[in-house]
Structure formats: C-alpha cells, structure tokens
Amino acid sequence: MPKANVTFEKLGITVSVPAGTRLIEISEKVGASITYGCREGECGTCMMRIVSGMEHMSERSVLEDKVLQENMAGRSDRLACQAQVLGGDIVVKA
C-alpha cells in the first residue's frame, strides 16, 4: 500500500501512514492540538496549515472549499477532517 510521511512541525514527529488517511486521524492520535469539532467539514475548527507537500494532498471538495473561504483561509490551509494524504512527504504546522 502506498505510504505518506506526515511531519508535525511543532511536535517534531513524523508519522508514516497509508495513503488515503485523513489528517485528523493522525493529528488526534499524535497529540497535536487539533482534535475536536464537528468532524464533518462544517465548523472550520480543525483548520490546519500545510507547510509543504500540498501537492500530495487530496483536492479540496466543494464543501471544504466553501468552509475555508468562509473562514478566510489562505491557500495553505486545509480542514484536517476532510483532507487526505495521498503519498510523499507532507509537513503540517502543528
């Protein structure tokens, strides 16, 4: 199965995960400060900054795009409950 390496910059931890894993599944297990919220892509609570590797993330869905816009997100922001890692190396600010 293809793997992706997700590095949590503030924690100094890199987790090797199967492709297709959602960011929130990793962040809450690793103890990053992104856990709660609706988990359905509506509240915007789990917004997370992607430092590098955005090209290895799933495309934004219409719903995620809408919520990110409503929360005045930048191009590097994603909703951890929606964004999946597809492979390669990804660094997140958490």
Partner: protein, 423 residues
C-alpha cells in the same frame, strides 16, 4: 429610578430603540447579573435611508418595535445591520424583515451559517460585508469592521463616520440595566464591565488585540454597545481599558527567550508529590525553561488560571481515587475555558492504587482544550519506584525539550501510533 424610556436620541438623527430586561439574573448560564441587562438596538437616519443596527431578544420584541415606531416608519428602513447573531440580538430580526421587506440585511462573512441556523428561511436575502465596506444612508455612512471572535466568529462593529459613533456589538458591553442609559448618568457599572470582559472576551484575547488595532485609531465620540450603558463620556477610556485587560496580566519575568512550564499536583500520601518533584527536576535539566511547582491543595483556582494563561506548558499530577482524577484538578481544568490554552503543551502523571484512570482522563481533557499532548503520561502504583521516578524525570525533560524545540525528531508508523495512543 427612571422608568423605561421612549426611544432616546443619542446623537442627531440616531436613536436608541432597544429593550430593558431588569429582571434577568443569569445570562447564557455562565454570567450573573445583579440588576438585569439591556438589549441595545439603534436607528440611524440619513437623508436617503434609515438603518436599524441589531435587534433584541424575541421576548422583548414588543418593546423594541414600539420604540422603533416612534422614530421611523417600516417602509423607510433601507438597511438592517446585525453586528452579532446571538439570539439576544437577532430574536426580532424575522419579524423586522417581515415588516420592512424592502430593507437589505448586512452581516459578516462568518455570520452566514449562523443566520441560516437561526432564521430557518432558505430564501433569506443578505449581503456579506467586511472591513472597508460601507453603506451610504445619505449624510450618514456606515463603515464595517470585521472583529471576529468577540465573542462569536461572526462579530463585527459598525461605525457612523460622520458622527463618530461605534456600534460595537458585545464589545465594550456589559450586563447592567439602568434606564438612564448613558455612562455618565447610570449607577456605578465598572464591576459589570470588568466581569463581562473576564467571562466573555478574555478567552479571545488575541482577537481582542487584533480588533483594537482596527478600533483604536478611530476618532470615537460615542460607543454604542449591544448591552449595558451607552459610552458617551470619555469613550476612549473604555477602549484603553480593553487594551489593558487584553495585555498579559502578569509581568513576564521568564524572559523573552525562556519558556515557562508549570507543574501542578495534588497528593494523598506524598507519592504523586514525589513524581511531581521528579518531573520538575527533569525539566530543569534543560536550559531555557523556567519550571514552577504548585500544590493544588493549598490554593483555589484563580491565581493558577492567570499563571496558566501566560505559561507555555502545563503538567498535572493527580492520584486516582474511585476511578477518577480528584476534584481540585477538575476544578482547575474546568476554569481554563476562561482563557486561551490552545497549542500549549500538556501532560499528566500520578500515583494510583489499582486502576489509575486519572492520567488518561486528564490527557483527554487537555486534548479537548486543544493543548498538545505528545508524551504519554507516567503512572505509578502507590509508592513510585526509582525507575518510575526516572520516567517522571524523563517526562519533565521531554516536556522542556518540546518547549525549547530541542526534542529529538522521530519517525513512527501509524500502526505504532494506534497501538500506543501516544508517541
């Protein structure tokens, strides 16, 4: 005491048309009020349009409409602004829009979802505004300022530029009901102003500071909040007070380059206390971290909440009694909703007799408060062994390394992560 007033002119062509709720003693579960509150709504008349700024709680809609009708006809209303959609300000909105269907509704970007959730009308028409947007009423111009998270995501302020009036929503407001309305005429409301800030605005301190950057440069002649007295006498002093309240409460003696780690503990037989000492000693081996050790049994929550607000990391030591962490720990943890703790570093440890649930429960609570909890806590059955105290020492050292950015970088697999629940 003056009885409920008619609509009150607060500046030429601008009236207070809100409602008084003197009997209220508890607001939103978390706030007490000694003499009720007001739901302030305002009517601004320009030469080509009339704007209504905020409405009132549904239960007080009759009072609001009666005052509105004293100063404007419904068919004159061109503009409705909601600075904040909480039901005590949006309760009368559906009826107002029914009576003034031609009026355009202006809300902030983040208010859209809330509007749809509060007013179950899928056809509702509205315009989204942000800082820099204006609405011309003819000789009166409404300027919008996005001030999110004061205290909801949707909150904004609206300035009437020509009159220097800031309709500030809940910002600079308080729960204090006095029919004399103006800050130079009502009773002494200073405690209400401070209390309101501490309970409503304090968790959003960073957002308060961002908003003040927008609001401080304004030449304000009057602040018209959505609750409590209208601030016409020295309005800038209330802005300055917010600046003081939002600035760090305690002098930062740690030093700009140093980090602060607070270790709290409570102990029945001295076992958790020994673990706390070891955590603190471990942290002290890392330079650049100032470590403080506190016994929760000796003090109430209040000074610790202030300390935690300024700290970079917090560790809690609790024994497990009847399968739970002990009450003083929960009391302090539940007090942390009043401050911002997101992204601080958290950890737990403690001695136990036979099950030791307290550590995981504390860690879950810390995660719920959005702290980072990257290091598995240390548990020791009854009297900690030297090995267990060594683990506490390591816990403290690792916490300090996380705070100083000197932690060893590690790579682990998802399956390892799932197996341990912790790194």
């Amino acid at each position: 005491m003056k009885s409920a007033p008619d609509a009150v002119e607060i500046a030429p062509g601008t009236h207070w048309i809100g409602a008084l709720d003197p009997g209220l003693r508890e607001f939103d579960i978390i706030l007490k009020t000694a003499n009720g509150t007001t739901y302030n709504s305002y009517c601004v008349r320009g030469s080509s349009g009339v704007a209504i700024i905020d409405t009132v709680k549904l239960s007080h809609a009759g009072e609001f409409f009666a005052r509105l009708e004293q100063v404007a006809r419904y068919d004159e209303i061109s503009t409705i602004v909601l600075n904040h959609l909480e039901p005590d300000h949006s309760g009368a909105l559906p009826e107002l829009m029914r009576r003034a269907p031609q009026a355009k509704l202006y809300i902030s970007t983040k208010a859209q979802l809330m509007l749809k959730a509060l007013v179950k009308d899928t056809e509702l028409d509205y315009t989204v505004v942000q800082t820099g947007d204006t609405v011309d009423l003819g000789e009166r111009t409404l300027h919008f300022f996005s001030t999110p998270f004061l205290h909801w995501p949707d909150t904004q302020c609206t300035l009437v530029e020509e009159q220097g009036i800031l309709f500030s929503g809940d910002v600079f407001g308080c729960h204090f009901c006095d029919a004399r309305l103006f800050n130079d005429q009502v009773g002494d409301f200073r405690f209400s102003f401070e209390y309101y800030y501490q309970h409503i605005m304090r968790p959003f301190r960073e957002h308060v500071l961002e908003a003040l950057e927008l609001l401080e440069p304004l030449a304000l002649k009057l602040i018209a909040p959505a609750h409590g007295p209208i601030l016409r006498d020295v309005p800038q002093s209330y802005v300055q007070r917010y600046r003081q309240l939002a600035s760090p409460l305690l002098a930062n003696e740690v030093g700009a380059d140093n980090k602060s780690l607070l270790v709290f503990y409570i102990s029945s037989y001295g076992n958790t206390a020994r673990m706390a000492q070891a955590v603190a000693e471990g942290a002290e081996t890392v330079s650049g971290v100032r470590v403080s050790l506190y016994d929760l049994q000796a003090m109430g929550d209040l000074p610790f909440v202030d300390l935690i607000e300024e700290a970079d990391g917090i560790a809690f030591g609790s024994p497990t009694i009847n399968g739970d962490a002990v009450k003083p720990v929960w009391d302090l943890l539940s007090s942390l909703v009043a401050i911002k703790v997101r992204d601080k570093l958290g950890a737990a440890f403690g001695s136990y007799g036979w099950s030791g649930e307290a550590i995981n429960m504390i860690e879950d609570r810390l995660r719920g408060l959005k702290l980072r909890v990257p290091i598995k806590g240390v548990r020791a059955r009854l009297i900690p062994t030297d090995e267990e105290l060594g683990k506490c020492h390591d816990l403290g050292k690792q916490l300090a390394q996380h705070l100083t950015g000197t932690v060893d970088r590690r790579v682990i697999s998802m399956s390892e992560l799932l197996a341990s629940s912790h790194v």
